[in-house]
Amino acid sequence: MEKVSVWDLPDVPEGQLPSHIQLQRTRVHCNPDAPTHTENVQYSGAYSSVGVDNSLQLEQFRKNFRVEVIRLGKEDMEFDMIGVDPSLANAFRRILIAELPTMAIEKVLIANNTSVVQDEVLSHRLGLIPINADPRLFDYKSENDDPKENNTIVFKLHVRCERGGPRLTVKSDQLKWLPNGSEFSLETSAAKSTAKPKTYTTFHTSQETLHDFSKKPIAPCHPDIILSKLGPGQEIELEAHAVKGMGKTHAKWSPVATAWYRMLPEVVLLQQVEDERAEKLVKTCPVNVFDIEDVGKGKKRAIVARPRGCTLCRECIREDEFKQDVALRRVKDHFIFTIESTGALPPEVLFTEAVKILEDKCERVITELS
């Protein structure tokens, strides 16, 4: 930016910030060497000397806050969240990754495993399989709780590769849901010949009768995850118990493959770039942010056509040629949010749940303080 004496700056009406300060407040400036003005001015009285109130006003927030959905699929979505502080955007992201519960396999009872994959490695692989069950229908199971129909999902895996046959690939669709709980009996109960031998779970009813599990049986989200390969004569027989948990305990409980955001890039041409220079500028950008516009009489000029695609590689301002012409900025309160769900819940539900969790946290603090 050109240096101007402070006396030459235009007058600013009361209650507004001078344009250059407004720009510093709302944009990150991406210079060739390093970004500047990256901080967010949070202190309520930061601009009180020029008569500008920086305090949080809910009315103002309600007016400015916008959400625009760009893409929404079964497993991923992209949306713009506009008019929100990074601390909130980050809180939502952190909650999505670490504090939203899902169901994941936590205990594996291995009766037989002669495959090349060792017990502990196989168990770990099983743990990472996303399970298509709504975690909101289950309770957390604590250390002393019995595994019951409301806190445990049991799967059975029994595959064997016959001698003389071809090798087998064990995939996640061979995990069979046991709505009545474990089928392995506890050794201690073997002595007593009661009607029903005790097993590793104490289900009172079949899970099929609960909620609408009969219509939508519980299974892994994807049928084609490879668990192991079996050679002739090898066998795997096991039971896997899934419980509810959170991503901060172990990443297998994270409901998102990932959730991230980036600030909206803003590319501004400070001066007109014309003719050959315009064509050169268009060519420097690897993702085609710029385009050429005909202005008649055989003249051409560069325009910014797709600023959203800018990766901020700074290729366009690396050489001295366009340094004075192009300004790269990022809008501080415009977040392009992407959520990739692992499949248990659709991404839009995940986000709503994440916001609810932050609300719960606030409520808890309020009740504790009063």
Partner: protein, 104 residues
């Protein structure tokens, strides 16, 4: 738990089982309250699930101000959630309309 002094306008609040998620958002909403003179947070030890939030005000009791900030955050969240579901609903309706037009 609050660790205050004789003076109610300055306190440190200690939350167990919380982390940057809540503390940083609270710091944001506290800082934007004109009654707050200073506020900040720290996590004393990374392997202990605890944050300390320090609030110093211009005179009003610190816990009042913290409570109000939480209330503000709560409203912000509720509004965000509402706006988000509206946007998603709009998007779904639009997609459905488009799909219908294609079929015709």
């Amino acid at each position: 738990m609050e660790h205050g002094s004789a003076d109610e306008s300055a306190s440190t609040f200690s939350f167990t089982d919380e982390d940057h998620t809540l503390a940083n958002t609270l710091r944001f909403s506290l800082n934007q309250d004109p009654r707050v003179a200073f506020c900040g947070y720290s996590i004393p030890h990374p392997s202990e699930a605890r944050v300390n939030i320090r609030v110093q005000t211009t005179g009003v009791p610190a816990n009042e101000v913290l409570k109000d900030s939480c209330q503000d955050l709560l409203m912000i969240c509720q509004h965000s959630r509402h706006t988000f579901s509206l946007a998603v609903q709009d998007f779904k309706n639009e997609q459905a309309l488009k799909a219908m037009n294609v079929e015709e």
